[in-house]
Symmetry: C2
Subunit: 264 residues, 2 copies
């Protein structure tokens, strides 16, 4: 049975709240996911929270089920008033359920590159919303996961988990320097594909290979030239307007759906 | 010459700050855009701010040019310390330039539907970031603009302007109830295309017509059945993962690039 807590200064409440900060997430190795939809995705993927907080009073049967399963697996469960949930989630209109999950800390050696036809590789992404959206798109296109290269925003931030809509529990996530990624890539099969304005190759037409590693550049600067030079294929998404770039998560999705279309 | 202002309680400072709130934007008919890149896009599109604030001290030559042009056109210009810019933009690391622009309030009668091959129509979008991202994608695919149907987030919010990366100045934006949009659509040429899970039509393959109106549903609920029923064509974007939906701005982009690809 969940303990009922009404104090903001309770240790579990403070611990959950602290996970909104990157430093606390790193120290604890945990991250926050919010809401029944995302937490049900997690459960369906076999992942349960280590700490779970839910609203007091009548609770959705699916939420009750997740809380009971988490408790059976050793999780700490609490019920709290809405004000505390609002404080934890940073939203006036808080979710009714919130959980702290263990961060899966994977290295490249944990990836089976042939387990999926497509992988995202993103360089120095700054916006956690973009990271979460790319994870969500990765699920939709049947990608294996997202390799975050160099210094990127935290994929386990609240914003990233929220934008992923649960894909944070199913897509594999690795954080690694480029100098580590590149030798690993070259040890096995894999076509590295980048988008660039410096090429005349249209993104529609090429024979994309499997596994295809789609390389996405930083939101402001795009890909460094040295990284472009390592690509097996550089392609261009045509621009018909005044600007010369797409949002990074949009470019990733347009490329990924075209790569999949090329395999039909 | 810009006036130098150092007080947070100055009327112009307070007026600019107030534009972060929807109510003030509606009353004033203005909206905020931030940063040299976006404000240069605006200028290149022939749009100048009515109020402009820039950092004190040495100023980028392009920023100086925009400030001078705005003043010549009758704008009020001020220079302010970084703390005031930070307060106005809500960012610790504020942009060096910030402007208040007149909201173009357009109706359907202002649109020439044959001026572009593609238009976005979005129903009850809740996330201003999605609206801005769709505007940015609209520029990239050569769309005419975005028709926001029913009650949506404010396309002139700071978040939407920021995510649009300047496309807010080049894409036409209309806000209108569905009951007004549909009769207008049927008065002239135009194929209404929706994405749906209720169809077996793959999104790759159909002959999309011009002008094509791409209908995007609300982030949580998708399109209402009654709106789907009005579509000339319903197509499905295949999902290869566990979830059954894409981010709204991602779905819009994947569709728009496929529609353009079908016209090659």
């Amino acid at each position: 049975m969940p303990r009922h807590i009404t104090s903001f200064s309770n240790d579990t409440v403070k611990r959950l709240r602290s996970l909104r900060e990157k430093k606390a997430r790193r120290v604890e190795g945990l991250f926050l996911a919010e809401g029944l939809r995302i937490m049900a995705e997690a459960r369906d993927a076999g992942v349960l929270p280590e700490i779970v907080a839910c609203a007091e009073g009548d609770i959705h049967p699916l939420a009750a089920e997740i809380v009971a399963q988490a408790e059976a697996a050793g999780a700490e469960a609490i019920t709290v008033p809405d004000e505390i949930l609002a404080k934890m989630s940073g939203k006036d209109n808080p979710p009714l359920l919130l959980g702290a999950y263990r961060q899966p800390r994977l290295g490249l050696a944990d990836l089976d590159r042939t387990s999926a036809p497509l992988w995202f590789v993103a360089e120095r992404l700054r916006d956690p919303g973009n990271i979460g959206t790319i994870l969500r798109t990765g699920d939709a296109v049947g990608a294996g996961g997202l390799i975050l290269v160099d210094d990127s925003a935290d994929p386990f931030s609240v914003e990233a988990a929220r934008a992923s809509m649960g894909a944070i529990f199913t897509q594999r996530i690795v954080q690694v320097p480029w100098a580590t990624f590149l030798p690993w890539l070259r040890e096995g099969p894999g076509q590295l594909v980048g988008t660039s304005l410096q090429t005349t190759h249209d993104y529609i037409g090429p024979a994309y290979e499997q596994p295809c590693f789609l390389l996405i550049g930083n939101e402001q600067a795009g890909l460094p030239e040295a990284y472009e030079a390592e690509c097996d294929l550089l392609v261009k998404i045509p621009m018909h307007g005044k600007a010369d770039s797409l949002n990074a998560a949009i470019a990733a999705a347009v490329m990924a759906f075209q790569v999949r279309a090329s395999w039909r």
